[in-house]
């Protein structure tokens, strides 16, 4: 059995534990609310994770895809009567269009300039969302219906966070599966090669510009799907969905545990949101905490929390040789027999 297959099987019991975690932690409304939000914002972060960790570019405009998913859902469900499946398909399709446009525009751009242009796109989107009446302006879009994924006589609805949790968990599982498949695919390998050495990648027959665009097109629908479910969870969408808070949360989620760690964004999002929901300092202090975490990780732990594993294991190994020497110095039965001969 291949290593990726074994790893996926090993994740099964963990997945089951996570599914039942909210009920095991008391099952209160606040626990389910936190669990749903963790799942949604973790999926949002997985979209950016692919761009930052695999392509090596920092996109500061990924909140646009989150907003595309949310606004598409809000507008189509309240004004055109679309059901949840329809809004999901529309969110993915519209995010692909946006990703294609942004990807083509930024095709020749790298590093700082790429980040600046993507941030400028987010600013434009925020300005439009706040002022354009079509998008609800500063009031936003209200009155979204409940999530209804019913089909073929099977009732799949969610009014509360408790009922929404299985859908949020399912979306999280799908996102993690897709990212894992991507990293074990030829596109994922090409993305890494493009990141590490674009010239060598070109010599090897890889078109870096095409790979960048494809990875962008892969990442956008993941983040947009998170926006889709976020819209149903809040039943309200407004321009605050494009605030820097979501961008900082995404960036922190990508780097806190470590780059290219499959469960990294999920663990990091869970840590950050658990602090906000259950150990809150109130008001803007939580945002200061989030920003401080990002700065500290970038400054002192650039490899994330996983970077601490190596020095800790080295520390552990320092004590191991002494124990080994003591064990080896004690005569065993076989050595005693040889001496007596």
């Amino acid at each position: 059995m291949s290593r990726p297959s074994m790893r996926r099987i090993a994740l099964l019991p963990l997945g089951v534990a996570v599914l039942f975690a909210p009920s095991l932690l008391g099952g209160s409304a606040s626990v389910y609310s936190a669990a749903v939000l963790i799942a949604i914002l973790a999926v949002m972060s997985y979209g950016l994770d692919v761009i930052v960790s695999d392509l090596g570019e920092v996109s500061l405009g990924h909140t646009v895809f989150f907003a595309v998913g949310a606004y598409a859902t809000a507008l189509l469900s309240t004004r055109a009567g679309f059901g949840a499946w329809g809004t999901l398909a529309a969110s993915i399709a519209i995010s692909l269009v946006f990703a294609a446009v942004i990807g083509l525009v930024t095709l020749r751009l790298r590093e700082f300039v790429f980040s600046l242009v993507t941030y400028a796109v987010a600013v434009v989107a925020m300005s439009l969302a706040a002022n354009w009446a079509f998008l609800g302006g500063s009031d936003g879009v209200r009155g979204l219906p409940m999530l209804d994924l019913s089909f073929a006589g099977l009732s799949l609805t969610a009014r509360t966070d408790r009922e929404l949790w299985p859908y949020a968990f399912g979306m999280l599982v799908v996102a993690i599966y897709l990212v894992d498949r991507f990293r074990n695919s030829r596109l994922g390998a090409a993305a890494i090669m493009t990141h590490l050495n674009p010239r060598l990648a070109t010599v090897g027959g890889i078109d870096p510009a095409r790979v960048r665009l494809q990875v962008f097109l892969f990442s956008a629908p993941i983040t947009a799907t998170a926006g889709w479910l976020y819209a149903y969870q809040r039943a309200y969408v407004s321009v605050d969905i494009l605030e820097n808070y979501f961008l900082i949360l995404m960036l922190t989620a990508v780097i806190l545990v470590g780059r290219r760690q499959l469960l990294g964004p999920l663990l990091a999002t869970a840590l950050v949101l658990t602090q906000e929901k259950f150990f809150s300092f109130g008001g803007y202090v939580d945002k200061i905490v989030l920003g401080s975490v990002l700065v500290m990780v970038l400054a002192f732990f650039p490899q994330g929390l996983m970077g601490l594993a190596r020095p800790l294991s080295r520390l552990f190994r320092m004590f191991r040789p002494a124990a080994k020497v003591v064990a080896e110095s004690k005569p065993t039965a076989s050595t005693s027999l040889e001496i007596s001969k």
Binding site: V105, R108, L109, R110, V113, V117, A120, V121, V123, V124
Partner: protein, 43 residues
């Protein structure tokens, strides 16, 4: 330039318009206005 900008763009959208101009400049001249269009696109 500011007066012309204000005349062409509604006040509610000046931020969006200004950043669209910035995007255009960075895409066409990633190395800066003094660099040629073929100059490196690295930041």
């Amino acid at each position: 330039f500011t007066a012309l900008f204000g005349a062409l763009v509604s006040p509610a959208y000046t931020t969006a318009a200004a950043f669209l101009v910035l995007i255009g400049l960075l895409v066409l001249r990633p190395g800066g206005l003094s660099a040629s269009a073929a100059a490196g696109a690295h930041g």
